[in-house]
Symmetry: C2
Subunit: 279 residues, 2 copies
């Protein structure tokens, strides 16, 4: 098959590599992409096309892996090119967003949700699929590294699953960093760490690891937190956890791509970046 | 010493027992208290006084252990009786609330924060003390079960510590229950539990234990969540985590004092109780 990957970012590239290992040609579109993305795509052995419309000539499927806030506009661009084939959206979007895309694409829409880091070792990462075309899309993959799992015919189940999963992992991480920042601001850090050492074993270590692990990439969690907040509101549940989490990650934005940000730098960013503080 | 305990609720009674074991007389005030509280106080060997004003005759100190939303009014009632001695507020209040009480009481105010369950076994529970009278109050206690720890002369440090501690424990518990409810609402529970079993070991078990452990007492977390939200806002941090947590615990209110509420009943309460859903 010829599969168009939009776009080969850090996560997208590992989905493309899984398709390549499964025996397909993987095309990518150079227009508007960074030099970093170009290098990644070339190293991976993907086929470059200059513009979007070129990529669809003879293409069998499109796989979208992009920031959640761009998921719908990427799809609109693809449809604008007259593309008529299957479309897998693997982005971290609210089920409402997935349903909106499904309404435009009908049976050609396949819902996807990626859980885990960019897939480099077996067992670390799963691509969940749902919708009427999920079983067909499952057959695209024959790979030992990326796990691919179908979870039914609901056109937004994979997105729902991703929202629920990230709601706890990224939500509790943001809460933990916010609490550490609060303790810092109130000058009770030592007392808190001492109490944690008595009654919350591992939490101090988790806070440090979370700071190091999220600092460089927090800037791109904002859209995902907004989608999760939409998901909670859509289910009649309070959306405040993830509006607050978005605020925390937004404040960490200045640490984008920093290689050595630690808890102290994260605390400074959270406490010093002006924010609305009422989300 | 003669120490007035306001009031011998489930937590208060264990603080009173620690004072009793330390050799003091512990008085309580029957007016307006439930039959349950009366039984608890009598079983503990506290001295009953009928009305508030009687209790202060010859009293050396007052210890307040009450719902956070009542902390200031309890203090106002005590001052209204002309009481002139030391006053330990051990409630889960924002540092702003503690400072407001300290402004009225001056050096007679001692800030307290209780971390852990009602103290029945050594090492489970600590009463933190701060403020200019913290060292004096530390000497009231000579007990093997309740840990008592001073953390400096700041008139709100103990409250600050309590806020930070509960912000993560009760905040992450509310988040976890909210996520389970979301998955239930979106019909992706099985898929979420399966993914958790692969990549978030222990989370399913924690969700079940959290539901059982908080169902009966969630109704009294509301005021504490509001105080934590105030604390975050006061530090220029987003208050949405705990406004949302308050909403979740409020919805669990109908499970008050239920002995056998499990995850399923908690999910029903969270999903069926009408709420504002925009906190």
């Amino acid at each position: 098959m010829n599969i168009v990957l939009l776009h080969p970012g850090q996560m997208g590239v590992t989905i493309g590599q899984a398709l390549l290992r499964s025996g397909h040609e993987v095309r990518w579109v150079a227009q508007g992409r960074s030099q970093q993305t170009r290098q990644r795509a070339h190293r991976s052995g993907f086929t470059e096309t200059a513009e979007l419309i070129e990529a669809f000539d003879g293409a069998d499927a499109v796989v979208s892996v992009c920031p959640p806030s761009e998921a719908q506009s990427v799809m609109d661009q693809v449809l604008g090119c007259g593309y008529q084939g299957l479309y897998l959206d693997a982005n971290a979007v609210a089920p409402e967003t997935a349903q909106a895309m499904a309404r435009k694409l009908g049976d050609r829409y396949i819902d996807g949700g990626i859980i885990g880091p960019p897939a480099q070792t077996a067992g670390s990462t799963r691509l969940y699929l749902s919708g009427s075309g999920a079983d067909a899309a499952l057959k695209w993959f024959d790979d030992d590294i990326l796990g691919v799992v179908t979870i039914g015919s609901d056109a937004s189940a994979a997105s729902s699953l991703k929202m629920c999963y990230a709601a706890y992992t990224k939500g509790s991480s943001a809460l933990l960093l916010a609490v550490r920042a609060l303790a810092c601001s109130l000058n009770v850090e030592d007392a808190l760490l001492n109490e944690w050492s008595l009654s919350q074993a591992g939490l101090e270590t988790r806070a440090k690891a979370t700071a190091r692990g999220t600092a460089a990439k927090a800037w791109r969690f904002s859209g995902e937190m907004a989608e999760i907040a939409t998901t909670f509101a859509g289910a009649g549940l309070p959306n405040g956890f993830h509006l607050a989490a978005r605020e925390i990650y937004d404040r960490m934005g200045p640490l984008k791509d920093s290689a050595d940000a630690d808890l102290e730098l994260v605390m400074n960013a959270i406490l010093q970046t002006p924010g609305t503080a009422d989300s």
